[in-house]
Amino acid sequence: MNDDILDDHETLTLEDVCQNCNLDQDVVLTYVQEGLIDVSGHNAGTMRFSHSHIVRIQKANRLERDLRLNPAGSVLVLELIAQIDDLKNQLKYFKRHN
């Protein structure tokens, strides 16, 4: 079986990402603007994305579609979820020690 680890190497172009996620350039660029992902490169032509970026974009896009959010909202949700996960982990850690 063919598997690979999705590392954080930024090798994908904007076009690759659009094709992979079935999204328009505008939509992907909005996510970049909203700070969902930090890409290297400053304009659409030179931007490079990683596979973990794709996963985040797809998550945000699913949330938007399913819960009728706008991009700012879905990015906020993902950030809050990350914070909650972080706190849960810390809590788990502290519970073990008390």
Binding site: M1, I5, L6, R62, D66, L67, R68, Y93, H97
Partner: protein, 338 residues
């Protein structure tokens, strides 16, 4: 085929208004969205309520469903009368919210599926056709050109041992896949995969299994399966990115006087120098002893000072000597007069 009670799925009365249905659906969709809710049942619940909403929020489908379903209860054997849908007109699937229609139950497909497929044709995002019978008969005059698209990507979370990441390994992983069975009920199918755990993978990273997602449409390739990695709790270490943390119990004299102690690491036992006058909770770094990667993580050893119990004369005597001889008051900073 079993009858599905869409009203129960959304928790509303049969007399519910469109607004009540909308608000019930939205509440449940937020609650059970698989990207937000990590319970294993969340995904199948989400699909169920999506299907229920699809029918009940559409006046035409709701009317048809109500007419059909008057005398049925959830799970009862159900056969739609022939030509039951005569006189109903179905529009294309409204864009926007809802579960992916290819996941809908047989019950739904039988009642609403075919009529819809005619309408939505071959546009991606209409998604109202089952891949297996796309292009088959039943399209009549609406037959469209050939349609190819990559199948959907699937996602799952897996739990692995920290040692698997440290050493790299091959593991058999069993995933539970919720599917609608032939009786129209959701059931869990088990699917076993051989997965190579790449050395040094961190929590939250994804492993992609190419072409293990949903089948493609037409000549399209299957989607990929993404596995998000989490670690099982380890009895010694916990991970933060590539770094590992280890709580190391030390004696008061080791902490106070300093010295060498032996410390377990995932790569084997090593010597650690404890500096004199170390305090409880002090973090000592063993560089590069964390998870391997191009820039390997570190192992942080957190000192936990363990007090010997005063449960014999000798120990009590030593504590008493310290109490007499040492000028030590850990509470002096809290208030004057302590």
């Amino acid at each position: 085929m079993e009858y599905k009670d869409y009203y129960t799925a959304l928790g509303v009365e049969k007399t519910a208004t469109a607004d009540e249905i909308k608000s019930a659906y939205r509440k449940l969709a937020r609650k059970y969205h698989p990207d937000l809710n990590k319970d294993k049942d969340a995904e199948s619940r989400f699909k169920e309520i999506g299907e229920a909403n699809d029918v009940l929020s559409d006046p035409e489908k709701r009317a048809a469903y109500d007419q059909l379903g008057q005398n049925y209860r959830e799970g009862q054997d159900f056969n739609p009368p022939p030509n039951w849908d005569q006189g109903f007109e179905f529009r294309g699937r409204p864009s926007g919210a809802g579960a992916q229609p290819e996941d809908f139950s047989e019950f739904f497909e039988d009642l609403f599926g075919k009529a819809q497929r005619q309408q939505s044709g071959a546009q991606y995002g209409g998604q109202s056709f089952g891949s297996q019978d796309f292009g088959g008969q039943g399209f009549g005059g609406q037959q469209q050109g050939e349609f190819n698209a990559k199948g959907q990507d699937h996602h799952a979370r897996i739990l692995i041992d920290l040692d698997d990441s440290f050493n790299g390994s091959k593991r058999q992983i069993t995933l539970k896949v919720p599917e609608f069975g032939p009786d129209g009920h959701l059931q869990l199918k088990h699917r076993t995969l051989d997965v190579t755990i790449p050395k040094g993978i961190r929590e939250g990273q994804q492993i992609r299994l190419k072409k293990q997602g949903a089948p493609g449409y037409g000549k399209g390739e299957p989607g990929d399966l993404f596995l998000e990695v989490n670690f099982k709790p380890h009895k010694l270490y916990h991970a933060d990115g590539s770094d590992l943390y280890l709580d190391l119990p030390v004696t008061p004299w080791e902490a106070a006087l300093g010295g060498k102690v032996k410390v377990p690491t995932p790569g084997g036992v090593v010597d650690l120098n404890i500096p004199a006058n170390s305090k409880q909770g002090r973090k000592l770094r063993l560089k590069g002893r964390g998870l391997p990667s191009k820039k390997p993580g570190d192992l942080f050893v957190v000192l936990q000072i363990a007090l010997p119990p005063a449960d014999n004369d000798k120990a009590r005597q030593l504590y008493e000597t310290m109490a007499k001889e040492l000028d030590f008051n850990p509470r002096s900073h809290m208030a004057s007069g302590l």
